[in-house]
């Protein structure tokens, strides 16, 4: 759909993580999903102190260790080796999900297969009969964390829109997403549906609309930017 040069249009994975990181406030508790969301931590602007929660029992997660400092018993939810920052704490799984379910985590950043204009999220199963269903902590996170950000390419590899009127894949949660960061735009979920808050450099509203499964609106910020 987007042609041979699709890698050069819009934001890269790194840029999507960087753009998301701008919206992580100082002093908040954040859970980052596997994949692009993990990269957000590297891009939080200097001067902001953010504490990372990983649902397998660590608050105050730090970056990956040097090769010779890996402890296979100090890992994140993606089962990769991590470190513990000063002020970190370890706890068991029930306490860890009490933090999530009890709405103590401020922000969670996840990937997506589909997001609907009501903020429904599908990111755990294609629903195909031979798929091995695996949910992990995704349903707990979207049910319990106050603010849910999604980072995802705007379309699938096959060029199908991931932002849709209603999800065809099994849901992770209903009306849970607050904001979506794609390679093309930053999109808020509003009572009126998808609202574009920001466009990637060189990307037009129409370009994004053509690649979206339902009607987009232009947010007030973007209107100001366009008219200004």
């Amino acid at each position: 759909m987007s042609g041979a040069n699709k890698q050069n249009i819009g934001w890269s994975r790194e840029e999507m993580a960087k753009r998301t990181a701008l919206d992580i406030p100082d002093g908040c508790y954040v859970n980052l999903g596997i994949g692009i969301p993990e990269m957000v931590a590297q891009h939080v602007p200097d001067g902001r102190e953010v504490i990372y929660h990983t649902e397998n029992g660590l608050l105050g997660m730090g970056p990956a260790p040097a090769e010779d400092e890996i402890d296979p018993e100090l890992i994140n939810a993606g089962k990769k080796a991590v470190t513990a920052n000063p002020g970190a704490s370890f706890f068991h799984h029930a306490d860890s999900f009490a933090m999530i379910r009890g709405e103590h985590i401020d922000v969670c950043v996840l990937g997506a297969m589909q997001v609907s204009e009501q903020g429904d999220l599908a990111n755990w199963s294609t629903g195909e009969p031979d798929a091995i269903p695996a949910v992990g902590g995704a349903m707990d996170l979207v049910a319990g964390v106050k603010t849910i950000y999604i980072i995802t390419r705007h379309c699938t590899k096959e060029g199908e829109p991931k932002l849709v009127e209603s999800c065809s894949y099994p849901l992770t949660g209903k009306a849970v997403v607050n904001r979506i960061y794609t390679d093309l735009a930053v999109i808020n979920i509003t009572p009126g549906g998808f609202e574009i808050a920001e466009l990637a450099p060189g990307i037009s509203f129409d370009y994004v609309q053509q690649r979206t499964g339902c009607r987009l609106r232009v947010g007030p910020q973007l209107t100001a930017a366009v008219s200004g």
């Binding site: 002020g87 370890f90 319990g144």
Partner: protein, 236 residues
């Protein structure tokens, strides 16, 4: 930057509002945040719903808060401690409301509130007056009563040591309700014996992670309730 340190007791308790639900840690005097309670007396918020295992002793701490007319309702398991005169007198004259909850159910309701569990079932109190009006349900041949999670606007608790992120450890049986109250309150205010630099407490031994804490004030030499009572003290 995360620095939960508050310099004054007045500032720590400033925004506790009339009608607020306030969980107060402690089992008798063990773990009672007596300086924070006295700050709440100074501050003067009224018509509070207070959650504590007991109702205080003598005329200091929780008993003094009640005596000062600031508490409209107590949620507790045992309002009849030795030396507890203030609550019984007010209760008999109909001036304070009591919600009596079995101690384990009280603890579990607080933990549930903090863990996002709106309700759960327990066999405790089934076939007793404390189950009256509550929903009964049979699981695998045994009856259980449904109990609701309990949350609060504020928690006042005491810890042994804290760091500026709000990580806490406790002293012996002073731990009691504090860790679960910290989870269940919108704003958790801690008086601690020693405020340490971040990283000073081993991550393996932290009992309350800082995510559950909002404000910390250092009270290096807290008063001991039993000693104040022995000295015949009252507050204010």
């Amino acid at each position: 930057m995360i620095d939960q340190h508050i310099a004054s007791l007045n500032a720590a308790a400033a925004d506790i509002f009339d009608g607020a639900t306030v969980m107060i840690g402690g089992f008798g005097e063990a773990g009672s945040p007596i300086e924070l309670i006295h700050a709440l007396i100074d501050q003067g918020a009224r018509n509070l719903t207070v959650v504590n295992n007991n109702t205080g002793s003598g005329h200091v701490g929780l008993a003094a808060l009640i005596e000062n007319g600031q508490v409209g309702k107590m949620i507790c398991s045992y309002p009849r401690t030795v030396g507890s005169k203030v609550f019984p007198d007010l209760y008999r004259s109909g001036k304070i409301e009591l919600e009596l909850v079995p101690q384990g159910t009280l603890a579990e309701r607080i933990r549930a509130g903090g863990a996002g569990i709106p309700a759960f079932y327990t066999a405790t109190s089934v076939n007793t007056p404390l189950a009256e009006g509550k929903e009964l349900r049979n699981f695998a041949g045994r009856n259980y009563v449904m109990e609701y999670g309990l949350r609060a606007d504020f928690a006042l608790i005491k810890s042994e040591c804290a760091d500026r992120h709000g990580n806490l450890i406790y002293n012996k049986t002073a731990r009691n309700f504090a860790p679960i109250m910290a989870m269940a309150a919108e704003t958790t205010i801690v008086q601690t014996g020693a405020l340490l630099e971040v990283g000073s407490i081993d991550p393996e031994v932290i009992v309350t992670p800082g995510i559950f804490v909002n404000r910390i004030i250092e009270i290096a030499n807290p008063a001991q309730e039993s000693q104040l009572i022995a000295e015949g003290r009252s507050y204010p």
